[in-house]
């Protein structure tokens, strides 16, 4: 049975998708957040049918996980499927199939490229001499243009394609965009390194010793990856603690 989806129901699902991680948990992950986001829309679809409403609420409480910004793809598509009166089994299978790709595509695009890109750009500008609050503003604006744009695009694509959204995502080729973006971010990382080496508040002012040690830490990170983070941070924290103790005793 086809049911009408009101504009306000769609809008509220989109707005609520900003809170989809509000009850993040190890049991159903985004399951409760997904159901929460769907509630007003489900009410508008099934308001007069308590049993259908109940069943719909239960199926959207199920375990779900995705990148938060791309969860809207699944949310939009689920809305379309519910409005079309799709078989509940189809809805369930759609959500099972879509969570993996929405997670890995979003992690690659946002967490591994867009966020560090915006952050590194702002930091490079800061060490080139841009006042810090301007750097923070640049970061927020650049990052959120992409962030909110991606959420909006994903939700709309899901809403218009339903369970066929895989083909649309394939055509959008997010993986290739991610790859290109990573090349751009590598340029910005270079920019940051240059600014740290030569900028006023950077290593040029700190002296040769710190520059050499920083270069070693950089190489360690480059060669062994994430395993280098903790030893580097612990060493710095320990050095500061010792300096404070020596100052206090001496």
């Amino acid at each position: 049975m086809r049911r009408a989806l009101t504009r306000s129901a769609v809008a509220s699902a989109f707005m609520r998708s900003f809170l989809i991680q509000g009850s993040w948990n190890y049991h159903t992950m985004l399951g409760s957040g997904f159901a929460f986001s769907m509630l007003p829309a489900l009410k508008s679809l099934y308001g007069s049918e308590p049993d259908a409403m109940d069943a719909a609420v239960q199926r959207h409480l199920e375990h779900f996980n995705a990148h938060p910004y791309l969860a809207g793809v699944a949310l939009g598509a689920a809305l379309k499927l519910e409005a079309e009166g799709a078989d509940p089994e189809l809805v369930r299978r759609f959500k099972l199939a879509v969570r993996g790709p929405l997670g890995s595509l979003g992690d690659g695009l946002v967490w591994a490229a867009w966020l560090p890109g915006a952050s590194v750009l702002a930091l490079a500008l800061y060490w080139m001499g841009l006042p810090g609050w301007w750097a923070a503003a640049v970061f927020l604006v650049v990052y959120n243009v992409g962030h909110i744009g991606l959420r909006f695009w994903g939700f709309r694509v899901g809403l218009s394609e339903g369970q066929l959204v895989g083909r649309r995502l394939e055509r959008a080729n997010l993986a290739r965009w991610t790859e290109r973006l990573k090349g751009g971010v590598a340029l910005l990382v270079g920019l940051l390194v240059g600014a740290l080496l030569a900028g006023d508040g950077g290593l040029a002012a700190s002296g040769v010793l710190w520059t050499v040690l920083a270069a070693c830490a950089f190489l360690a990170g480059l060669i062994i990856g994430h395993r280098a983070w903790r030893p580097a941070a612990v060493t710095v924290v320990a050095a500061i603690t010792i300096l404070a103790a020596v100052g206090a005793l001496g």
Partner: protein, 165 residues
């Protein structure tokens, strides 16, 4: 031998498989054996999205039984995935997978399934499937990621018996 990993994982192609196992085993393709999925194009589109540049082949269990020797002998390195223990059991019948290893990587959903490991929930049918595989010469163990601890079928059956009693 060029099926480099046989894995039962209801999530099929996802981060743990593509990043965790894929980066280590460098497969040329994923083979997903599932009767329902091999008839459903839109679901295939979705699962393909997660595989990066690696090809994905969908096959029914019957077709897979016919082609298993060919895949095993092929130069292409494959990771073979099923989302049910029963599908993997069908492949192993008649000692088609004699001497191979099956990796249990993730099962949560399903009637009567009880937690055996954080990522692995099994019901009585699952356990019977796994024992049948073992009887057909397959070495069955559980491990979510390549660096994680490997758990033997014997240990799994014991903790399954404990958790259900």
């Amino acid at each position: 031998m060029s099926i480099v990993l046989y894995r039962v994982d209801e999530r099929l192609i996802h981060g743990q498989v593509v990043i965790g196992w894929g980066h280590q085993l460098r497969p040329d393709r994923y083979i997903v054996v599932d009767d329902e999925l091999s008839a459903s194009e839109w679901e295939q589109d979705l699962y393909r999205l997660g595989s990066g540049d690696v090809d994905v082949l969908f096959s029914t269990a019957d077709e897979a039984r016919d082609r298993l020797p060919e895949w095993q002998a092929s130069k292409l390195r494959s990771i073979l995935l099923t989302r049910e223990t029963s599908t993997m059991r069908r492949l192993a019948e008649g000692r088609l997978m004699d001497g191979e290893h099956v990796n249990l990587g993730g099962l949560r959903h399903g009637p009567g399934r009880a937690e055996v490991l954080t990522y692995l929930h099994l019901n009585d049918d699952d356990v019977r499937d796994l024992e049948a595989m073992a009887a057909a010469g397959v070495d069955v163990t559980a491990r979510d990621l390549p660096d994680a601890h490997k758990v033997s079928l014997e240990t799994l059956s014991k903790s399954r018996w404990k958790s259900s009693s």
